[in-house]
Amino acid sequence: MNGIHDLGGMHGMGPIRPEANEPVFHEDWERRVFGVMIATFAGGQFNVDQFRHAIERMDPAHYLESSYYEHWLTAVETLLVENGALTRAELEARRAELAKEAA
């Protein structure tokens, strides 16, 4: 698809500045998203091409505003809802629970 992910040749995205001693994860939640993705992938919930395509199908504005691992999280959520492993309502309920705990 001719989506927002296909950035090759576009201008105005700013310089690429490689980080010195870049950590594997910048935030602890990224480590969890990595684990969730690997577990659901290896568990046969989706293949790598379906995963990539789910990232491409993100809302374009959300895609540009979100980080690498937020792309991963969004794609896993999309695929698990589409294949019936989860419902959107279950996801939202859990989100609300966590927000309450954090408050």
Binding site: G8, G9, I38, A42, G43, V48, D49, Q50, R52
Partner: protein
Amino acid sequence: MPALTKDMVPGLVATGGSCRAQAEVPAKFAQGDRIVVRNINPTRHTRLPRYVRGKHGVVEHDHGVFVFPDTSAHGQGQKPQHVYSVKFAAQELWGAGAPSRDHLYLDLWDDYMDRA
């Protein structure tokens, strides 16, 4: 469905779950072949970037046989085929203003290309 076990993790992380296919498939192209990239605009998944569609290049290396993402992403099978490293002149992609000695190498599947 196989569940992920702890002993599977290192291999999976190391290989990223390789998409190399075991099928014997004849190669459509050989090193040195001049190709033109198909100008396709599927609304579904493809790994063919927009900026290379319709451009001319030269096959530099045959990587072997891999799963075809365009079908695999949609439950339409692996359609295994050769993937090549294809060389494009920067000026072919970006015009006369690009540096004349720069080249870009892209990994492309058989189905993305025709003989030029």
